[in-house]
């Protein structure tokens, strides 16, 4: 059936565009042994919802699916906690690389780790996924204004943490220029 062939072609085009960055997005956020399953689920959802895919923001759209899928995957681990069981406030980001393994910039890793889940996530989308506010908005399912504001505040808070660390004896990193958003 031609519509099936067409759909496959469209999906393959989407996959070509998003496969690698999507995989990176997932691997940054969940343990390696679960990343493949999540990727598979995200692609399956994208296949089902292909008609909703916005051609100009495919990747952020996929990130949005991945965000929800990751939330489900983390929740899956908690499913044995029955309905009436009080859940601990679960971090939105189940997987954090060990700061000790974060390489040379331990100071920044620490500062990042000290922020809220929302702040961290918006900063990661900005710096790791290299998204702009308009795309962040789609990935987080919020308005562009909200994304802009959230990013700006997260940057300020990160800069504050870094500045505070700088008051401590060690080095003097250049974090000026990140404060203009305050």
């Amino acid at each position: 059936m031609s519509s099936t062939i067409d759909r496959r072609a469209r999906f393959e085009a989407v996959v070509d565009e998003v496969f690698d960055p999507l995989q990176r997005y997932i691997r940054r956020r969940i343990e390696p042994d679960r990343a493949d399953d999540v990727l598979s689920d995200v692609l399956m959802t994208a296949w089902r919802r292909l008609d909703d895919a916005p051609s100009d923001r495919l990747l952020p759209w996929c990130y949005g699916i991945a965000r929800r899928t990751l939330a489900n995957a983390r929740r899956g681990q908690k499913r044995h906690l029955r309905l009436v069981h009080r859940l601990e406030a679960e971090p939105q980001t189940g997987f954090e690389p060990d700061p000790a393994e974060a390489g040379p910039d331990a100071e920044l890793s620490e500062a990042l780790a000290s922020l809220s889940d929302d702040d961290r996530e918006v900063l990661r989308l900005w710096a790791w996924e290299q998204l702009e506010p308009r795309e962040i908005a789609m990935a987080l399912d919020i308005t562009v204004n909200a994304a802009t504001l959230r990013l700006s505040r997260a940057r300020s808070r990160l800069a504050d943490r870094l500045a505070r660390q700088d008051d401590a004896p060690s080095g003097h990193e250049a974090v000026e220029g990140t404060m203009e958003q305050r």
Partner: protein, 202 residues
């Protein structure tokens, strides 16, 4: 414009440290993609508001309602959870009883059978789970998202609610199971009126 903070953050991206990636062209990727594209679709057509047949999941005896996160929730009746992680929660008796005694819908009856009630919008339907974002809690919860879990899958249909991404639903639940028999379903003016009346006093 160059942004130092952004660049500095990019340098601590864990993906810089050689995390192995699966190539699109690898055999397993190709297998996966083929499997996905062979999945039959019962998609809703784009512009017709007509029948919602996208995904139908049994949410009666077999459905488990799992509420999660968003700051935790305080519900009555502590519970000893089995410790094994993994497969979805399976519920037995409670739901069946509710099914068996399919009482006629009335706001009072809803009031009786609803330990939990909320209005939500489906954001994802995945295999055996349906995820809803909660638009409003009428009773008993504060989570931002609810996952409906049908461990026995689509096959176990004892009358199901068709869930379609983007559509609104009114859900009530008791003992961890979604109430069926018209006590949950796609939002309609009638059901909405029933929920409003049942939970008028909180």
């Amino acid at each position: 414009m160059k942004d130092e903070l952004r660049e500095r953050l990019a340098r601590i991206d864990p993906m810089h440290s050689g995390v192995p990636m699966e190539a699109t062209t690898s055999e397993s990727s190709q297998e996966l993609l083929e499997k996905i594209m062979s999945t039959p679709l019962k998609e809703k057509t784009e512009s017709t508001p007509a029948p919602r047949r996208t995904w139908t999941i049994a949410v009666a005896a077999v459905a488990a309602l799992v509420l999660a996160v968003a700051g935790g929730m305080a519900l009555t009746g502590g519970d000893e959870a089995p410790v094994a992680a993994g497969p979805p929660l399976e519920l037995t008796a409670g739901g069946e009883d509710i099914m068996a005694s399919c009482i006629a819908f009335s706001p009072e009856a809803l009031d009786d059978v609803a330990e939990l009630a909320f209005a939500g919008t489906v954001t994802a339907v995945d295999g055996e789970t349906v995820t809803l974002t909660v638009d409003e809690w009428y009773r008993g919860g504060d989570a931002g998202e609810v996952v409906l879990n049908a461990p026995q899958g689509m096959e176990a249909l004892i009358g199901g609610i068709p869930f379609a991404v983007g559509d609104a639903y009114l859900i009530s639940a008791q003992g961890g199971s979604v109430n069926y028999c018209g006590f949950s379903g796609a939002t309609t003016p009638e059901l909405q009126a029933g929920f409003d009346a049942a939970f008028a006093n909180g």
